[in-house]
């Protein structure tokens, strides 16, 4: 029986706490009697028979939807869309859950005599997936059967010939999505709900949309009104996507949504990284030896080698639920299953929120975590891992631990380089950035070309990363980065600190002495339900 997550009140007996620190780790002693640590639950037991569960879900859909079998017929146009390389994190061990689901869907399609099938990676404005990444996600059988015939491909949000305008929401939001998906008799969306932000109408309304459509919810105003975007009912991001979902439905696009949830078995119960998943006072002599050896080895390796090692890690995630049918009904169950794994009740807010940022975020799979992504992971994702109220009080201090190197992947993140060098050199204010620079980057022909033909994120993507963190930016009184490149940290508008103790002293200037501290022990993923 996996143990639930919990909040540890730090006392003098509490050993130093593990902080992820990019491609490395730190062990930090938190001040006793005023600190607490939010620990994730242990991984839920995975489903014993994932294939059986998937077949069962397809035959027994939820909401107002017939079984998938009944929706398939000869001569129809079927499109299968799936979540891109940004999910799950880290990538999961083969077979990926998308492969299992897509194969089950294709089995039924073949049985029904469906010939016209397209499979699309729903990547919105993310970079295109490489062949290896597509093979990993959908499996070799599916890839070899569809990709050589041009039937398995990446969504292109800048291809005017393959986008369909479906209408406008009552709020004036334009809805434009992939034409093939829009014109199909059935769109089957295969999702991985790693966090509660994923899934629902956001799958299609964002994953298969164009910039014209995305800009209506990927903006400063929406993000500041998403408190948090991990809680659909308090998220303007989701409200906008739900409105768009209604437009898509009213336009006659029939969607059969298949959502899956994973446990948080990120580093495995055994193996070289298993120590990262254990509570510090439960580290055995073997764990401690493994940690010391790992740390000593990593400290001596050059950064590219460390990065290669970490990015080669494949998480042994287990499937905890799969549900299919009508989008909203499916998503309600999915969200409950995500919460079942990740939600931990926390009493009250804190003055100082600390977090150790790992080597990976949704936008640097097989890539480099540049300073903008550090900001997005810390103030975007980790800060928003709450329901109710933010973990840190308004005007409190956020302390993040990450090397924050001034380094960018030139192929994946070309517009990030210019954003960092030009835009952030001028201002870090999201509103000003949005007003002055977004259009220029979004419509830049060179970035557009790289997005469509190379493996670059869209020109506007670094702006979205900055918006992603704007709620945290506005909420926090100060942001301190421990162990980061000082120039890069200052460029982000944050305060650099060499050690956590230094950072805590700096925080005193904002929140006073004896401020309360809460550390989010993440990953494995944990979400605070703040009362």
């Amino acid at each position: 029986m996996p143990r639930p997550g919990f909040v540890l009140d730090v006392d003098r007996s509490t050993p130093p706490i593990l902080f992820h620190h990019g491609e490395g780790f730190r062990l930090e002693k938190l001040p006793p009697d005023r600190s607490r640590v939010v620990y994730p639950a242990e991984p839920l037991e995975p489903l014993e028979d994932p294939e059986g569960a998937i077949r069962h879900a397809l035959e027994n859909p939820v909401g107002d939807s017939p079984p998938l079998r009944a929706l398939l017929r000869p001569g129809m146009k079927l499109t299968i869309a799936f979540d891109d390389v940004s999910l799950p994190l880290p990538p999961m061990r083969r077979p990926d859950v998308r492969q299992r689901v897509i194969e089950a869907v294709l089995d039924l399609a073949a049985e029904a005599g469906v010939d016209d099938v397209h499979i699309i990676a729903a990547l919105a404005l993310h970079r295109r997936m490489t062949e290896a990444e597509l093979r990993h996600a959908v499996g070799d059988r599916v890839y070899d059967a569809f990709a050589p015939h041009g039937l398995l491909y990446n969504h292109d949000a800048e291809d005017p010939d393959n986008l369909a305008f479906l209408g406008t929401t009552p709020h004036g939001e334009e809805v434009e999505i992939n034409k093939r998906a829009a014109e199909s008799d059935l769109l089957v969306y295969v999702n991985i709900n790693l966090v509660s932000m994923d899934g629902g109408h956001k799958s299609t309304a964002t994953g298969l949309a164009s910039y014209r459509s995305l800009r209506h919810h990927h903006n400063v105003r929406t993000m500041r009104h998403s408190t948090s975007f991990m809680d659909r009912h308090s998220s303007e991001l989701h409200s906008s996507n739900w409105r768009m979902g209604k437009v898509i439905r009213d336009a006659g696009v029939k969607i059969f949504q298949i959502e899956t949830t994973l446990n948080n078995d990120t580093f495995g119960a055994t193996g070289p990284l298993s120590v990262l998943q254990k509570r510090e006072w439960e580290w055995t002599a073997r764990d401690r030896a493994a940690f010391l050896a790992m740390k000593a080895g990593l400290d001596r390796l050059p950064l590219p080698a460390r990065r290669r090692i970490f990015h080669s890690w494949r998480a042994p995630y287990g499937l905890t639920s799969v549900q299919a049918g009508e989008v909203e009904a499916v998503h309600e169950i999915t969200t409950e299953n995500v919460y079942r794994q990740q939600l931990v009740e926390v009493e009250g807010q804190t003055d100082i929120l600390t977090m150790g940022l790992p080597y990976i975020c949704p936008y640097n799979v097989n890539s480099i975590m540049n300073p903008i992504l550090v900001m997005c992971l810390g103030l975007g994702y980790f800060f928003n891992m709450y329901r109710g109220r933010p973990l840190v009080r308004e005007g409190g201090v956020v302390i993040m631990s990450h090397p924050t190197t001034w380094e960018f992947h030139p192929v994946h993140h070309p517009s990030y380089i210019d954003f960092f060098e030009q835009v952030l050199a001028e201002t870090t204010d999201p509103v000003e950035i949005e007003a002055r620079y977004e259009k220029q980057f979004a419509e830049d022909e060179w970035y557009r070309h790289l997005y469509r033909t190379s493996y670059a994120y869209h020109g506007v993507h670094p702006f979205y990363m900055w918006y992603w963190g704007c709620h945290g930016l506005a909420h926090a009184g100060k942001v301190i980065v421990v162990g980061g490149d000082r120039r890069a940290v200052r460029r982000l508008g944050f305060t650099p600190a060499s050690t956590l103790q230094d950072a805590l002293e700096m925080a005193e200037d904002v929140v006073g002495r004896d401020a309360t501290i809460t550390h989010l022990h993440n990953p494995p993923l944990v979400m605070a339900d703040v009362k």
Partner: protein, 308 residues
């Protein structure tokens, strides 16, 4: 002057993770894998490397030590010839006077059993700490046996080892003799023999009580005699209680054989008049009197003033 352990404790502790973490208050620690006691896992002590170490300890340390301290006279080994030809696992059941009994028997039990042998040892004594557990498992091939309660796990583990072809040495009395006389045999050896269908070899040890009796700290050399009896095979339909009584009787007959001679012992056995191992049913002084005076040197002990 502080003791070395106290001085060690005063040294600055290495920081985590170089040293073991402490558990925060209010957190329920994980149940630790048993590092001692009845649940101690001794599997490692039957792996090849540990067996080589144990063989070296038995042959290079125990055998010379036993030869010097106990000067054993081993008898009755010819009774095991047929059993040795079969080569199957056996349970050796012996009376118990001293800590010396185990090394004496380990060096006396012949091949093919000597180096494929485990010893049923009291969990509450030999497996009290992690260090004694490891030492007992390695040097003696000991397996923890609960003697204070009926423990299915101990029995299951011993039965599994016997079924894997390991022979067992057990002292059915459950502990060393407190007064030089024997104690009633418990049913463990009989139960395992019935459960696994293996023969029991009764063994009588004489003289180890004079070398290192219970409560004595330093050994005093003396002569000992180890007598192996004819293997006992459980009869059809017998139960462990009756079979345990039969084993005890066989050891008592061997004791009689040592005290008198084989023929006298056999006649008394057939007549049902073999003296019991537990000695005369009489007051303590008479039981002690009946043992004779095994240790003359005790008289030479220096007189001490009584504690004031």
């Amino acid at each position: 002057m502080a003791r070395p352990t106290e001085r060690l404790a005063r040294l600055p502790r290495l920081p985590f993770p170089w040293s073991a973490p402490t558990t925060p208050r209010g957190v329920e620690p994980l149940p630790r894998p048993p590092r001692a006691g009845a649940d101690y896992d001794t599997d490692w002590a039957r792996r090849p490397l540990a067996r080589v170490v144990r063989a070296a300890v038995v042959e290079a340390v125990a055998r010379p030590a036993v030869a010097v301290l106990a000067r054993p006279d081993r008898r009755g080994l010819d009774r095991l010839d047929r059993l040795a030809a079969d080569g199957g696992p056996v349970i050796f059941a012996a009376n118990h006077h001293s800590h010396l009994d185990t090394p004496l028997l380990i060096t006396s039990i012949p091949e093919p059993w000597r180096h494929r042998l485990f010893v049923g040892a009291a969990a509450d004594y030999f497996f009290r700490t992690r260090a004694t557990s490891a030492l007992s498992a390695l040097a003696l091939g000991a397996v923890p046996i609960e003697r204070t309660k009926v423990a299915r796990r101990s029995a299951d583990r011993a039965a599994a080892l016997i079924e894997e072809g390991w022979s067992m040495l057990i002292f059915p009395e459950g502990g060393r003799s407190p007064d030089g006389w024997g104690q009633p045999f418990r049913g463990g050896a009989a139960y395992l023999a019935l459960r696994c269908g293996v023969p029991v070899v009764p063994v009588h040890i004489d003289g180890t009580g004079r070398i290192l009796r219970k409560g004595q700290k330093l050994p005093r050399p003396a002569t000992t005699r180890v007598t192996f009896g004819a293997p006992l095979v459980p009869e059809e339909g017998t139960d462990s209680r009756r079979f345990a009584a039969r084993i005890e009787q066989a050891v008592a007959q061997l004791a009689d054989e040592v005290t008198t001679d084989w023929w006298s012992a056999r006649r008394r056995a057939h007549a049902g008049t073999t003296p019991p191992l537990s000695g005369p049913d009489a007051p303590a002084w008479r039981r002690a009197w009946a043992l004779g005076d095994p240790d003359r040197r005790r008289r030479r002990e220096r007189r001490r003033w009584p504690p004031l």
